[in-house]
Symmetry: C2
Subunit: 255 residues, 2 copies
């Protein structure tokens, strides 16, 4: 496949590299920032541009990995090519593309990417949706060239997935930050918690989270929870957060 990558952020970078490694050809890379476009283009052997008007109509697929708010604008600019346009966003309906072209699809990688951190793309779940069954099958085939975990996920399910990912990734990462700050305030090193953080994420790979829940709240250990609230005196925000999370844990059902 000849693929044009629109965007040069974390998602664009990892997908472009994965497609390239799988033997596809990246023709052009677009970014508003020419430096960023050039850097990614260099890595995947493509041509860089910072002008949408310089995109050529020769690619098989135009893969849009830009900020959600810019997806529709970009799609409208290139819809005239009559080629397949896909976006990579968890929070954006297929509709935002398909009102501009019948050749629309979604290629959503459910993972958190950082440019500086390598990961095994074959383990990244790819969530596929197409405006037609033919497009869906074409995108599934493409997705299988780069990942072992390809799912059909429609717009409504993708919204739920994206929301769930916020709970399973963005919020836990924030809690890691809170714990780091608590330790730092008492001259304790965050390294102490790292094995625990990794093990907590490992455990639920093969057991339901409810079945491995630990800590004072699930034991209904009011004395320890009180002691923790005492330690958080002066930080009303963290006290609120502690109470709310503990309330949730106390009412969870084991399953």
């Amino acid at each position: 496949m000849l693929i044009t990558i629109i965007g040069s952020g974390n998602v664009a970078t990892h997908i472009a590299a994965a497609l390239k490694n799988a033997g596809h050809r990246i023709g052009q890379v677009y970014s508003r920032d020419f430096q960023n476009a050039s850097l990614l283009a260099y890595h995947v052997g493509a041509e860089a541009t910072d002008l949408l008007t310089e995109l050529r109509p020769d690619a098989d697929i135009y893969l849009i990995a830009v900020k959600d708010i810019a997806i529709e604008y970009v799609a409208a600019q290139i819809a005239g090519f009559g080629k397949l346009i896909v976006h990579t966003s968890g929070a954006t309906p297929l509709e935002n593309l398909s009102k501009h072209t019948v050749n629309a699809g979604v290629f959503y990688p459910l993972q958190t990417f950082s440019k500086q951190k390598e990961l095994d793309f074959r383990q990244v779940p790819l969530c596929i949706e197409g405006a037609t069954e033919q497009i869906t099958l074409q995108l599934i085939a493409l997705a299988q060239t780069v990942s072992n975990h390809v799912y059909r996920v429609d717009t409504q399910q993708r919204k739920i997935l994206h929301l769930s990912a916020v709970f399973a990734c963005n919020f836990p990462n924030y809690l890691y930050h809170v714990s780091q700050q608590l330790l730092a305030a008492h001259q304790l090193n965050f390294d102490l918690l790292k094995p625990l953080i990794r093990e907590t994420a490992d455990k639920i790979q093969h057991a339901s989270p409810a079945s491995v829940q630990t800590g004072p709240a699930v034991r209904n250990d009011v004395k320890t929870m009180d002691a923790h609230m005492q330690l958080l005196t002066g930080d009303a925000f963290l006290q609120n957060l502690y109470l709310l999370m503990s309330e949730g844990i106390m009412k969870m059902e084991k399953n």
Copy 2:
């Protein structure tokens, strides 16, 4: 060392196995539940009992790994032996032992244990405190026979560590549960999120959580946050949690 293990739960089980593997001898295992005592005793080649009065005074160390609330009671029963008594609790002051004996210490493994899940004990951080410098050094030496990560941590620091662990482990695990429930309500498989959960915990092993925070809140993406709140309509608890976590993320400083 000849060691007596008091308790047969997750912590007792993992510590006893690690000590045994390091070449120490486990003389007796006590549990209120004789079956549990027997099972653990069998695994570590020890004798089982469900009576504190059957504990012999011949061990070098009595390691108490029972519920926090029972630690002091147990300590009072065996203080007469005049031997070293240590507890394994993050939330319990050394004081609870040292009011009964001068031979008191803490041997706190900062990890989440499940009996059914193996882990590499050499990677478990062990937090050591002793009533005297001599005891501290003796416990550090013992700890180093089973772990590569041994720290001196006093009672006040241990309290903060324990609280931080609740934020870094218990609360994230609850959020995994929430995401699983959200997916299940829409016929989506929790497996979809597992690579993301693992990667999120992996990322902070070598980067600060603030530097790798992703999601709508850190981007100040109000439109997506509104859409998520809409999806949570009817669940006031999760809406509250979503708002509070997002508020925290929006005000975090990148560092």
